[in-house]
Amino acid sequence: MSGAQFSMSGEEYLARHHVITYLEDAVSQLLEHKEENPRVNPAKFLSDYFTSVHRGNHTLFREYEYIKATPHNRTAFIRIFWKCFRQVGKSGDLLNAKEYQSLLCLLCPDFPLELVQKTARIVLMDDAMDCLMSFTDFLFAFQLQFYYDEFLYTASEIYTNIMSATRGSRDAVVVPSVSRTKGKPPQLSDGPDSVESTQFFEAVKMLCETFQFSHPPVDILRGILMSAPRVSFYGFLMALAKHEGINSAVGILPPKAQILDDTDPDIQISSARTPRPVSAASKPAS
């Protein structure tokens, strides 16, 4: 246990834990804060900042770029979203993509609609975009989409490449790492789409071995993709979103069955008002 972090270089260690990202943000927050409170105590400020990062309540009211910056920030945001709006799920209300975006914007003013739409596509299997979704469905699809955004994007590229390869020239070779074509994520709405599961799995597995962002555990991918001979991309995403193993791999939400329980005492709405992240001090929510 204690050996692993010593076998890498200092830079690698700092990069792995995104230390520089946090320190940079901390200093720019400090400078911003200083504008209004010239007598700020830097050590105290930094200590508060890292305490709130450690507790995971640092992403509230921050800009999207920051929320997305590290895996820890993403999980913290997913948790805040869950804590703040589980009442929606309890009351059984169904909302559409636009309405979910409005909720997200209450926590993060510039939360993009695009990511919400991607999430909706997972829940609704890529069609009928204006349909209503239950909170639980949306939450788990959102967790998948938000936490593994880069992975899903690249996986969808692999998927289209396999599709066009099997459709077009017979022996086109799919090399996932080279397939980084710029542009919009491929639209998969046309045609009866599905690819051979084994082929897709092999390509995704190769991707996982070298991928620099978070990716779902390979065992889970194998389990999902090996259960049927052919798979469609959104079928694959749907299965991932519903998989309990993904939830525990991300490790921030309780198991699906308990998602609406009130067991945890710090879950009430008041949790949104617990020690405000220092970073939010100079930023009104509007």
Binding site: G10, V27, L46, Y49, H72
Partner: protein, 255 residues
């Protein structure tokens, strides 16, 4: 690399005041210190580490020397090279003069307090035996080598205690919270035999290690199984206590 590159926009707006502010408030040196501490100690949760670090930087010095020294010692495991410099720092913290009039130096009372703090997770009756061997008189001045060996012994003792506890869990296959006495005796004897390593004879260290190898232990246990009489058993406390006493017997008393 320690000083932060601020976002370009902030730089343009008020290049002087931001830079001045960071300079004046010593944020630069604070960050530089934090990063070098991080790289030196490589804690598993650097974020919590930083929160702690800035927090103690915020506290006025002299608030609680023992707590600070203890924190310093806990930064990294005692098998890491960085532990040595942490130990040095802890000694410096403790021996800093209380006020301008008093003299620098570490007295026995603070030393006792520190060792007790290190051993706080171990049950009282266990740590008491060890402390009896290590402690100095209240007004004695503690030189660095005594400090070093005392602290080191305590940390190794903590590891040993955890190992002995784990060993019992392994032996307790039936989860009855007690293990046959014969089996315990065999393991403890093996453990005792392994602890005969001496400085003069480097070979003894290897021999000691080989006595604790899984196969050596298995053979000993196997032999014992033939003669087991299933009437006496040993509880966890007793087992751990026996192991601990063996360890403490190897600690040389200070006087």
């Amino acid at each position: 690399m320690a000083e932060k590159r601020k976002p370009a926009s902030a730089d343009e707006k008020m290049p002087e005041s931001n830079r001045d502010f960071l300079e004046k408030s010593a944020v630069r040196s604070l960050l530089r210190g934090a990063i070098s501490k991080l790289i030196e100690n490589r804690p598993e949760d650097p974020i919590a580490f930083l929160a702690e670090y800035f927090d103690s930087a915020d506290n006025k010095p002299g608030s609680n020397k023992v707590a600070k020294a203890h924190q310093e010692l806990l930064l990294t495991h005692h098998s890491r090279p960085a532990f040595e410099s942490n130990m040095m720092l802890a000694y410096q913290i403790l021996s800093a003069p209380k006020n301008a009039k008093s003299k620098a130096g570490l007295k026995g009372d603070l030393f006792t307090e520190l060792l007790t703090k290190i051993l706080r997770e171990v049950p009282g009756e266990v740590s008491e035996v060890l402390l009896k061997k290590l402690l100095c008189y209240e007004n004695e001045v503690i030189p660095y080598d005594i400090f070093h060996s005392g602290v080191m012994t305590c940390f190794i003792f903590l590891d040993f205690y955890a190992e002995a506890d784990g060993l019992f869990t392994v032996l307790d296959t039936s989860r009855k919270k007690e293990v046959d006495k014969e089996l315990c005796d065999v393991v403890l004897n093996q453990l005792n035999a392994a602890m005969t390593a001496t400085k003069d004879d480097p070979k003894s260290i290897l021999e000691g290690a080989s006595k604790l190898r899984p196969d050596a232990l298995a053979i000993a246990l196997d032999n014992a199984f033939d003669s087991v009489v299933y009437d006496e058993s040993m509880a966890r406390d007793e087992f751990v206590m026996t192991a601990v006493i063996m360890f403490i017997a190897k600690v040389k008393p200070l006087r």
